[in-house]
């Protein structure tokens, strides 16, 4: 059942659609309009359609944003917000899509209720409530989209960054890039142990050149990996220990047990070959 209050806005939108649309487009000043990201003609048709569905919802149940009759509006707001998030709009720019419609609508309301202060006040209030709900809704959807992107990127990072490389018969290298948290450590351990079995390796060089900080937690994770490898009969060497890391390890009193540590991967490789009893001989050029 509709009251005079709720049909007010619907009537205005029906009667003054073009003016509202024109003024709304003007309100979205250039900075908000982002003509670099969205064409003016596209924006215009988007706004026109939006006004249309809002008017229909208003005519059906009035300004009850949560009601099922407003599903279409919520759907459209969700789509607009998602698209803008993907296009690279700032969250404020996305929300102002809705908020910049306030001025044109209020102008029309003032005109219609010129001689009716009560009516004007209540119509303005219900309109402002409605637009606020819609604006907040777009902000929420925008937020969800960004969070989804971040989550997906985190998953990709986890997958990409734990290769195990065979350096020589029986020698594996495990370059670690980035921080070593418990989720990562699990993956690192599994990859390393699988590789040890597959390649019949006896030495694994864990290179931490790409690990920014080593604190007690990271050290624990490293030692876990080393212990697991040892249980499978492979010795571990930790390489890529930067001077700052060496200082941190001593300052924190981290006990690396008897794990061999080297500053460079090449030094670690030399040790690994030594342990396997492999030597390289440099050929001297033949004299004729």
């Amino acid at each position: 059942m509709t009251t005079k209050k709720s049909t007010g806005l619907a009537d205005i939108m029906a009667a003054k659609e073009d003016i509202i649309l024109a003024e709304w487009m003007r309100e979205m000043k250039d900075s908000l309009r982002r003509s670099d990201l969205i064409k003016d003609s596209d924006l215009r048709s988007e706004c026109a359609t939006f006004l249309q569905v809002v008017k229909e919802a208003l005519e059906t149940v009035g300004p009850d944003f949560q009601s099922p009759a407003w599903d279409k509006v919520r759907q459209m707001l969700g789509d607009i917000s998602r698209n803008r998030a993907k296009l690279g709009f700032a969250p404020a720019e996305t929300a102002s899509f809705v908020f910049s419609a306030k001025k044109p609508l209020f102008t029309q309301i003032r005109q219609k209720y010129k001689n009716d202060a009560e009516g004007m006040a209540s119509e303005m209030w219900s309109t402002t409530e409605l637009l606020d709900s819609m604006g907040l809704y777009t902000a929420e959807i925008y937020q969800k989209v960004r969070e989804e992107v971040i989550r997906r990127q985190q998953e990709e990072l986890l997958e990409l960054s734990t290769p195990v490389v065979k350096l020589w018969d029986g020698v594996l290298a495990l370059p670690i890039i980035g921080t070593l948290d418990s989720a990562r450590t699990q993956i690192v351990m599994e990859s390393l142990l699988q590789a040890i079995v597959q390649t019949n390796s006896r030495v694994a060089i864990i290179d931490i050149t790409g690990v920014p900080t080593v604190d007690t937690v990271v050290a624990q994770h490293l030692l876990k990996t080393v212990t697991a490898a040892r249980l499978m009969g492979a010795d571990c060497i930790i390489s890529g220990v930067r001077p700052q890391i060496a200082q941190t390890i001593v300052h924190l009193g981290i006990n690396l047990l008897d794990v061999t540590t080297k500053a460079t991967l090449s030094a670690a490789f030399a040790v690994a070959l030594q342990r396997l009893g492999v030597t390289f001989v440099r050929e001297t050029p033949q004299q004729r």
């Binding site: 599994e190 079995v197 697991a228 499978m232 009969g233």
Partner: protein, 121 residues
């Protein structure tokens, strides 16, 4: 195997079976004057702290009888489980498979430097 003993554990061990294994093993080491014991656990898919302790015990007993023990064939999942349980099996030497284990035993019994394989006390 010559002077080595090979033990293959294929079934899930529970208390009495483990005790029986320890008994049999120590008796065999003494009888055969074996210098090395290889315990093959490549069939074990599940290892708990009980088995971990049992392996450590066997290694200790063998050492008292002047035999070296090497555990071989640990599966990756098992290794991870032991590490997560905080069991590092100190005092037990390990190798990837029976061949590697035998190499390890031979080189250590020859008194020569251990070239590879791993152990920790």
């Amino acid at each position: 195997m010559g002077e080595f003993l090979l033990v293959t554990i294929q079934v899930d061990m529970h208390d009495r079976l483990a005790m029986a294994l320890q008994d049999d093993l120590t008796r065999m080491i003494a009888a055969s004057e074996a210098r090395g014991v290889l315990i093959d656990i490549s069939s074990l898919e599940i290892v708990d702290s009980f088995i971990g302790r049992m392996l450590a015990n066997i290694a200790g007993m063998s050492r008292v009888l002047d035999a070296e023990t090497v555990v071989v064939g640990m599966q990756p999942a098992v290794a991870i489980t032991l590490v997560e349980l905080g069991l590092s099996l100190s005092g037990v030497r390990t190798a990837l498979n029976v061949d590697a284990g035998m190499e390890l035993l031979r080189s250590s019994l020859n008194g020569s430097k251990v070239l590879y394989g791993s152990h920790f006390d």
